[in-house]
């Protein structure tokens, strides 16, 4: 006689629902769902339409005023001085992403100071999605701002440099900075929020204070900067997709909070 005959055991069988749930859990763990890109962008658009700009920037509106103030008070006069010294490219590299970087930093700082982050992480619309939408809006505002700044600096340079060239420099700086900032946040969370802009400022100051670098920058043709801008914009959108996808799929890793 074997053990089963001596100790007959009734093995309870799983119900259909339990079987399906068990299979779904195994599959989710082994092969996490990768959402199609179109679904992510549709979700972003849907969320943007649902919340509106007012909700998106609720409580942090003063941060943009402060960022704009810093731009006007500190950066534009400095840019005007530098432009007179024919260092337009150096100025643009520093100034183009400045409003984006300052606004992003200040809004995150304010969210941290008001201690609302912990709450927001538990609400239906992922805070990552809100951050993503904010960054996209800031990017759009910065693109418009870059055109205005280029116009001002072009006038100050007495049109000695091509406007298209200045615009290509500005856009390449903006998109490269944006994609590096986003990549840093994806990889290192909140820890990357300060180091990336600091590193950018340090690198941007090199051509400001070192003549050979400034000269070299001025010699790069517009199409090279345009290619860098296009690559930066593409990389930014790819990073944005992965940034948002993590929040929507439920595999969100908190930004180091």
């Amino acid at each position: 006689m074997n053990d089963r005959e001596i100790f007959p055991v009734e093995v309870p069988l799983l119900t259909e629902d339990e079987k399906k749930r068990a299979v779904a859990m195994i599959l989710d763990t082994a092969m996490p769902a990768i959402l199609p890109k179109s679904a992510i962008w549709q979700e972003l658009c849907r969320t943007a339409g649902m919340v509106g700009l007012r909700t998106l920037f609720f409580g942090v509106g003063d941060c943009f005023f402060l960022a704009a103030l810093v731009m006007c008070v500190c950066l534009f006069p400095a840019a005007a001085v530098m432009a007179g010294m024919a260092r337009a490219a150096s100025c643009l590299f520093l100034i183009s992403p400045a409003f984006y970087a300052l606004s992003h930093l200040l809004t995150l700082w304010k969210e941290y100071q008001t201690r609302t982050l912990e709450w927001k992480w538990t609400w239906r619309i992922s805070f990552r999605t809100i951050l993503a939408l904010r960054m996209l809006v800031l990017g759009a505002v910065s693109v418009v701002g870059s055109i205005l700044v280029c116009g001002v600096l072009w006038s100050l340079e007495r049109q000695a440099v091509s406007f298209v060239w200045m615009l290509s420099v500005a856009f390449s700086a903006l998109f490269l900075y944006g994609s590096l900032s986003l990549l840093g946040q994806r990889l290192w969370g909140m820890r990357a929020v300060l180091p990336v802009p600091l590193a950018w400022v340090m690198v941007s100051l090199v051509p400001v204070f070192w003549e050979p670098a400034a000269v070299w920058l001025m010699q790069i043709p517009a199409y090279a900067f345009l290619a860098a801008a296009a690559a930066g914009a593409g990389f930014y959108l790819i990073q944005m997709y992965y940034f948002v996808a993590a929040g929507i799929s439920g595999l969100d890793r908190r930004l180091g909070i």
């Binding site: 339990e18 749930r21 779904a24 859990m25 989710d28 649902m50 919340v51 509106g52 909700t55 609720f58 409580g59 008001t114 201690r115 609302t116 982050l117 912990e118 709450w119 927001k120 992480w121 538990t122 609400w123 239906r124 619309i125 992922s126 809100i130 929040g247 929507i248 799929s249 439920g250 595999l251 969100d252 908190r254 909070i257």
Partner: protein, 285 residues
């Protein structure tokens, strides 16, 4: 049903929680433990703010992390020390929270009015948050946590900083909220939960000690809690739990296996049980 399956949480070499398993159905659960025992860690894991190092947490059989937005849609969470925008009013802040909770705009104002009525703040709806007292802010917090009519309500130390009157009002409110949902509230103040919690979850040494009704927990110490005059001599096998005022002056409540001289047996309260459990732990029992 919310299931916690063998959850462990470590921060480097420090184990905050070890091998916690719970099954929670509808009702009020009080999470009771001293400071630093892991209450907030457990609450944060239930709210998906932290992730277990080992084990998993399931809602109706599905992992809450994988559920993502669906789980957050049925969750209402009140952090221990929540923030707000001081210059906004309760109505503005709740509209903001409602938008982020995907509550339809047509429904939002009606829900806000009803919730502010429920928490006793209909007249403060348009006052700036920075002008509200601690108790009023806490009530706004509860209203925000209730915006999406959650199936699971997690309140982390919700009565911290409230005066006795506000704590009584809070307890009454929780009674009315718990009818058809799971409510988990954490505290180290026993009186806050002993009358409203159907079950008490106690943690000790980062592990689950028990998940029982207050009656069952107190029952473990029946016949072992005595009241002595303050000047009574305390023997080595007796543990002083607390001191209070009796009819004839200060009295001590003491845990003792044997009835002490001059001691009067008293019915053990949840506070006695809480103090006894942690007193025994400190003395290595």
């Amino acid at each position: 049903m919310l299931s916690v399956e063998r959850v462990t949480k470590c921060y480097g070499n420090l184990t905050a929680l070890e091998d916690i398993s719970l099954d929670l159905a509808q009702g009020v659960y009080g999470l009771l433990a001293p400071n630093g025992a892991g209450k907030s860690t457990l609450m944060k894991m239930l709210a998906t703010l932290l992730f277990p190092t080992k084990g998993r947490i399931l809602w109706d059989g599905e992992e809450i992390v994988a559920m993502g937005e669906r789980y957050r849609g049925l969750l209402g969470y009140l952090p221990q020390d929540f923030g707000y925008y001081p210059n906004s009013t309760p109505r503005q802040f709740m509209r903001y929270a409602a938008a982020l909770q995907k509550i339809p705009r047509a429904e939002t104002d009606r829900r806000i009015s009803r919730l502010l009525e429920l928490v006793g703040l209909p007249d403060a709806a348009d006052r700036k948050l920075k002008r509200l007292s601690g108790g009023m802010l806490q009530r706004v917090g509860i209203a925000v946590a209730m915006l999406n009519d959650p199936r699971l309500l997690i309140l982390d130390e919700p009565t911290a900083g409230l005066d006795p009157g506000e704590r009584v009002r809070f307890r009454n409110m929780i009674h009315s909220l718990a009818e058809d949902r799971i409510v988990i509230l954490s505290t180290h103040i026993v009186s806050d939960i002993e009358t409203i919690a159907g079950r008490i979850i106690m943690l000790r040494d980062h592990r689950l000690l028990c998940c029982d009704t207050p009656t069952q927990i107190c029952g473990r110490f029946r016949g072992k809690i005595f009241q002595l005059p303050a000047d009574a001599q305390i023997r080595p096998h007796q543990h002083v739990l607390s001191e209070g005022q009796g009819e004839n002056g200060t009295v001590l409540r003491v845990l003792s296996e044997m009835p002490p001289e001059d001691g009067v047996a008293v019915a053990p309260s949840l506070e006695d049980a809480f103090l006894a459990i942690y007193a025994l732990k400190r003395e290595g029992a």
